[in-house]
Amino acid sequence: MNVNKKILGYSFALLAAFMLAGLAGWYFFLNQQTQTISTIDTARGLGTNDSSFQSAVGNTYDNIVSGITSLVTGTSTPTQGDSAPPQLWQITRTPVAGMAFAGTGSSTKLYFAESSTGYILTANPETGVLDRLTNKLFPKTQGVVFAREAVVLRSIDENGDIASFVGNISSSTSADGTHVFSSKSLESNISEIVSAPYTHGFLYLTQTPLGGSEGVLLSADGTKRKVVFSSPIGGWKPISLADGRTFFVLRPADNIPGFAYELKKDGSLALMAGNAPGLTFLPNASSTALIYGTSERGSLSLFARTREDATAVSIPIKTVADKCVWSTETPTAAQSTTTPKISSKSAPIVKPLIAYCAVPQFVTSNTFLNDWYKGAIHTSDSWWRVDVSSGTVELLLSPSATNQSIDVKNPIMDASGKYISFMNTTDNTLWLLRISK
């Protein structure tokens, strides 16, 4: 009996010891897990009490509002009174989604949309006056396309798809002085959209289920559509010119042959430039002249053709066509090539064909285009005037002259040929360059 009691006692003691050991183990396990979670939380930034911004409402809010408020309340000038802007004018310090010129002569204005708000503003190149046109919020606007009577704003929705909205700016103003902007949503995942000046609307590309693409002409009010192009390839860049010509450029990659085609009225594709590695392409809006660039093994080359039947000549600057813009001064020879009664071969060149190109000072990558498009590298560009007719170039503005390092993209020129506007890829800020000093 005593033996049984002893055995029972030992058993209970052993059980108690096991339980204590188990509890201790459980304690240490939980403690370790808590420490791990705490470490992870700290690394992820969770569990903090204070606002992460510098003020209660965020560090950019005040800046945006202060910039906008000064515009809304009157004729705001950049900072220094009413004097004309400098030759190189940084219009914004925050990212913009895109821009376009409108008007001619003294009525020329630069329209642009802020990236953070989607607000549409104008900048007067003559006076430096900025005005806000709309106050309808389109957060995180990644792109904007201006047509004559409409605007398309583009962003990425919560599913990661591209969302596009087409709208127009009403001529009537609201109480705060801004114009009403009424808009409607377009179909999802429009990969590319450009203005189609010939129709006053837009030309956009959508993806087909098998990965191809369709080119669609869209009316300015966004109600009418017409498919004008179809391809089993999805990666095209469309270009639409005022004279109705439409081009499709295969998206470029370094060292890989690229092609650019004109979409003819019968739907066929006429080769404009082809089998060129890393092809970038820029047709002239008022003639059959064109500029194209190549990128191969880290070497950039630029070529130009003055007429459709002319041989391409090498331009002695190393850049891509994406960094060039044709001068809007219409050359006489270019006009004659579009006139059926006059042979393009015999047309004398009275005014030269001029383009302006931003040229990187250094190209540090063997895959410049790929890396530049990814935002992985940036350049410091100088501006050059290119006489395409003679194949000669002239330095216009170097980074050292302005003490500014600017990586130019999306250059455009006003109708009078006095101003070039562009974005700095480094921060997507908006700039204006006056050609004449």
């Binding site: 430096g128 957060p139 606007t141 962003s155 990425i156 089993p232 470029p252 994406d322 935002g375």
Partner: protein, 356 residues
């Protein structure tokens, strides 16, 4: 008697066999002649190099004959009925092919030492073929470059053939026979009349695919070939700014200052086999300063770092793998310095500053 019958039968069989071989030989020869550009009754075979020369290109023509010794023969070469060259034993020559839409007739006559005259001819009607391609690999919205191939992805190929000069009405695709070759082998399923597009597998890791397409219609034919090398997916990190969105224009480098105490970063797996960065097949492995961070199941390509309780460098590391593709992996490391006092465009007046 039986023996005689057997002998007769044997002779008949032998004669029949010889006749059959003779017929087969010439039948094959005729078929070969049709395929190999022999004219009617001709006995000279012409080979053209390249097989389908383009407009205004040079082509090398060489001739052979199984029935005569051409090296001892008097040979005359005609191009479009004009004598190009003549002499004894001239078995090859270079010619200039005409422009797009033209026909270049080449005929050769040879007088053998036996006094026999043999001939051969061919016609070159050059066509231009553009061979366009892209991959179905992932690139982010608004990316302006080409989607490149990586292991596991597919290539979308498209051939655009021109048989006539610019300005002329071109043949429709349905009137053209396309032959696709992948590394020298005909892809039967992709080839045929009107099949101007093909979907082909990407080259495997570290390898290169040679794709060739031939477009032919009537006498006209043209071909083009491309070499496509495999690339590895490239992992880049961008800031997803609360106001501006994902800043695709500025990929993070080795050390990037951030003028805030908190930031969200997005990883973009360029050229990966994926529908989007949060594709369920992609396996993310994040770490910050050596501490492994579990992925957010909803947004596995994103990472938020808060540095309000710390300062200095945050070293973000990421490696990515594919659940069903062992050959696809990529990794990267980026340094971020949080500095709320840094005044870049996030911290100053956005509008109205001039640069003098």
């Amino acid at each position: 008697m039986d023996t005689m019958t057997t002998r007769k039968d044997g002779v008949v069989i032998a004669v029949a066999s010889i006749l059959l071989l003779f017929v087969l030989f010439f039948a094959t020869g005729t078929a070969h002649a049709q395929f190999g550009n022999f004219g009617a009754g001709a006995r000279i075979f012409l080979s053209v190099n390249p097989e389908h020369p383009g407009p205004n290109e040079r082509a090398h023509i060489s001739i052979e004959s199984a029935l005569a010794d051409l090296s001892q023969s008097d040979i005359v070469w005609y191009v479009n009925n004009k004598v190009l060259i003549k002499g004894v034993g001239i078995k090859d020559a270079d010619i200039s092919v005409g422009p797009l839409g033209s026909k270049t007739d080449i005929s050769i006559t040879a007088q053998t030492p036996d006094g026999e005259t043999i001939s051969g001819n061919t016609t070159i009607s050059p066509a231009e073929v553009d061979l366009l391609w892209e991959s179905d690999s992932y690139v982010p919205p608004f990316y302006q470059g080409r989607a490149l191939v990586s292991p596991g992805t597919s290539m979308r190929m498209h051939a655009i053939a021109r048989f006539k000069p610019a300005g002329s009405a071109q043949l429709s695709e349905s009137g053209v026979v396309y032959t696709w070759k992948l590394n020298g082998s005909v892809v039967q399923s992709a080839s045929g009349r009107g099949k101007s597009t093909a979907r082909l597998p990407s080259p495997t890791l570290f390898s290169t695919n040679i794709i060739e397409v031939t477009a032919s219609a009537g006498e006209g034919a043209g071909s083009e070939r491309v070499q496509i090398s495999s690339t590895e997916p490239e992992l880049l990190l961008y800031e997803d700014h609360p106001l501006f969105g994902i800043m695709y224009n500025q990929a993070l480098g080795n050390t990037t200052p951030i003028s805030d105490t908190e930031a969200t970063f997005v990883a973009i797996p360029y050229f990966a086999e994926a529908e989007n960065p949060d594709d369920a097949r992609l396996l993310y492995s994040w770490s910050v300063n050596g501490n492994e961070i579990p992925s957010d199941e909803m947004k596995r390509s994103e990472l938020t770092v808060n540095a309000s309780r710390s300062n200095g460098l945050a070293q973000i590391a990421l490696s990515i793998k594919h659940a069903a593709n062992l050959a696809m992996s990529s990794s990267g490391s980026w340094g971020v310095i949080f500095d709320a006092n840094n005044n870049d465009f996030r911290g100053i007046n956005p509008l109205g500053t001039r640069v003098q």
